[in-house]
Subunit: 233 residues, 2 copies
Amino acid sequence: MEETAPRKGTVTQRGIERIKAMIAEGGLAPGQRLPTERDLAAQLGMSRSSMREAIRALTVLGVLEARHGSGIYVTRLEAADLLETFGVVADLSRGRRLVELLEVRRVLESTATALAAARITPDRLAEVGRRLAAMNATDDPEEILAHDLAFHREIAAAAGNETMAAILDGLSSRTLRARVWRGYQEEDAFARTRREHAAIHRALVARDPEAARAAAAAHVGEVEEWLRARTAG
Amino acid sequence: MEETAPRKGTVTQRGIERIKAMIAEGGLAPGQRLPTERDLAAQLGMSRSSMREAIRALTVLGVLEARHGSGIYVTRLEAADLLETFGVVADLSRGRRLVELLEVRRVLESTATALAAARITPDRLAEVGRRLAAMNATDDPEEILAHDLAFHREIAAAAGNETMAAILDGLSSRTLRARVWRGYQEEDAFARTRREHAAIHRALVARDPEAARAAAAAHVGEVEEWLRARTAG
DNA sequence: CGAGCACACATGGTCGGACCACTTCCGTCG
DNA sequence: CGACGGAAGTGGTCCGACCATGTGTGCTCG
């Protein structure tokens, strides 16, 4: 009996660890349904309240998914599920850390774009082209932002590394982008942005990884430099 | 009255969003203490149970910190706090995604090492050297692992990008490392690893960013390739 | 008068139960 | 045979009580 009580921190914390361990050790497969909250609580010897807190914690981490009236399920455990919380980091970042996040994005985005240049399929490349055209065809900031996000998302997906794509997605969360770009694009950066996007697209069409890497790095680097100056000043 | 009820999903979810918003909008500064659970629940018009779940969720995300008997506080909101959850991703990753994580690490680690070559201070460089020596002076896998982690951590810190360092930390969580390296080092990879670490250190001493980048990429790439072969086969 | 200690209080942690909201499934009725 | 409706199951919310721990206060003793 004493083995069920590792006496580690709070009861809820123990619940989190136990469930995480079950998944890590293969006892719970992706998509599988868990016992009910009541049963789980009984199994691990804790109250339903504490178990609910544990479940809620794993839910926000993208590990579990609770469906009202149906049950609790393990998510697919794909990169996109687990890295959703990355958006929180981006949303809560200010000043210096925002610049650091953009530096990370520059490194990853340039690599992803280079990989995409070598691997992208004609279909996806066409979609990237459509996004570019749509972006240049409107003046509505909201619409531009949406196409911009899709443009980079397609490229990241084409790189063939879902984990990297998911991280980049978090680093370009809609709210973050809206926050940073509001100021950036006010300084008539539209023309420059269009030129940079065109350069990226051109490199992809030419299947030139080095050019793609450089174009992507320059693109993110522009925003990075602007933000750096704005933060320091 | 209706403005306090955005009618968004569950009550708990609303609580999470509200607190997050307070922090994002500057109403709650890092390190600041929040009202008590009971007061917060009353303010946002929900039960203490639901509020507790919201607080627990933000606690695991590294946004809040609950101190028993004292109160609830906003964390320092540093990169290390918010990116702690990255370790969960690493711990729950298997097969293909593990390779992808290592690919991300290779990209970031090589960049961080290159930056470190240009920026590292003599003190920190000396510490890196000590870790290298300690790593080569023992045969205890546990001790080697500890020094190995510290070796890379020092370098990442020297790169001057705390966010990048925190991500790399998550990508090299102790449990992940133990899992992957157990198999890797069984294949007498000790000698190769030592050579690679020495090469990285040499590049840092020479203040040669390009050599540092190449050495770090090769180092991580070795493990990556081994894991890729092992996963595919 | 000052230092140290013990107690009371505030606060987060846990528990149990009750009820609500939604989903699912099965039996019934047309 | 199909559609409808209800019953059971399950997560969501709320309440109230009590426990465990940290904090501050006021008392006591030197």
